[in-house]
Amino acid sequence: MKAKGSVLKYGDNVDTDVIIPARYLNSSDPEELASHCMEDIDREFVKKVQKGDIIVANKNFGCGSSREHAPIAIKAAGISCVIAETFARIFYRNAINIGLPIIECPEAAQEIEGGDVVEIDFDSGLITDVTKGVSWQGQAFPEFMQKIIRAEGLINYINQKQ
């Protein structure tokens, strides 16, 4: 499984309130949530984002609330993968559970710049900045998490097991 796209870059502690502000949590419709994705950190995000794009950020991405609306909004906005130095743990679980690929790699997260084209191989964890011609070894998912992502989420995975 691979993803390839253009990078939108953010800093430390991107919290769930800026990913999807609570004023929109009276909806749970993925398309509607996507239309407000990243609104309080980057008002241009929704206009800029192209299907397949990749978010790269620094420490503690997704900190704050348990709202699954955050990874849902990111996925529905067309983002194919999020790379960060570290993720907040509930966001990490939620992203896996809804089938949004995410990968931790401090070096890649620090060096990749906005606008770079990046390719990720989820089976090996290899991250390649095609623009810069540099690769890094990110943390590959344990096998059972890969199964959840391939099934496009925990619920499908549980259904397949039964």
Partner: protein, 421 residues
Amino acid sequence: MGMTMTQKILAAHAGLDRVEAGQLIEADLDLVLGNDITSPVAIREMEKMNTQGVFDRDKIALVPDHFVPNKDIKSAEHCKCVREFACRHGITNYFEVGEMGIEHALLPEKGLTVAGDVIIGADSHTCTYGALGAFSTGVGSTDMAAGMATGKAWFKVPSAIQFRLTGRPSKWVSGKDVILHIIGMIGVDGALYRSMEFTGDGIAYLSMDDRFTIANMAIEAGGKNGIFPVDEKAVAYMKEHSRKEYTVYEADEDAVYDAVYTIDLSTLRPTVAFPHLPENTKTIDEITEDVKIDQVVIGSCTNGRLDDIRTAAQVLSGRHVAKGIRCIILPATQAIYLQAMEEGLLKIFIEAGAVVSTPTCGPCLGGYMGILAAGERCVSTTNRNFVGRMGHVESEVYLASPAVAAASAVTGKISSPEQLD
């Protein structure tokens, strides 16, 4: 190598003699929780499952509390979805407006969370129940759906940081000041993926309400859970509120911790977290310039309990909210509201020029009941001060204890009660 308190609870619920940090396990759940924001997404996920039933209708708690009484039509539809699901599955612990409260104040009060439990909740502040010696942690809606259907959840066993609390806190220092001090010290990702285990003889000086506040904000340091040993106060609380059987787990003496911090509570001062992260803390003595404010909020799953309401009343009694300041007080449950009424605290608040609201999470997350305009500042006893958390992206939230929040309402700037006389 011994196990931490958290690891022992997880091992017991995974049917294992021992577990170690990093191990992936599947654990049996004693309680699965959701609210009006997260449950509709979980219900939608559950409907995709091959099995449609719930694992145990007595072990699921559904608490509409974020946007209730319904703030708008969309919220009303969400609440209706939760209500109908609860009815369809005969969920024992569904709490309608009138009997509800903010989930993390309500569930311990109703006796649904006890020592030794493994609890997941689709709300990040589910870590609150660690105050009673339970393993409890926030998850998302899909985990909630899987938990409701199967009664199980997968976990990566966490390592732990130990916080040894010693000494007795001074008069105006509360659990909120302790946890803000800790987050200021280790940062908003200082306990990422880890347990925060609190120990030490200083715990004896902390009320249960103080401990709930401390465990509640473990997530603001990135923690997976926060947990306290089960002492006489915790046992007395459970005996008063619950008929559930509880199990006391203790960390092994040779348990290994990633780090150990010793904190002398007697040296702590009232502490405030400045915008826009809970780690941006200053003690009241370090705030040398006037920070003028527009609003004060006293309430939430962090600080809407009886101790908090009593402290606010103690500060506001015989005083008045400064002209031009809005002071909003939200007792966290109906029982706390009633007790506050019987003790005459609501009268004190109204005479002081504050408003008292029905229990709701509303203002904490910028939902309703106290939204901020551009450029406005709020001193709040809530738990997050992220950009736009309580309203406009150019508004500011300062996190503080009920004592500091109430004193600030009186002066119109960030103040401690010591500065009032």
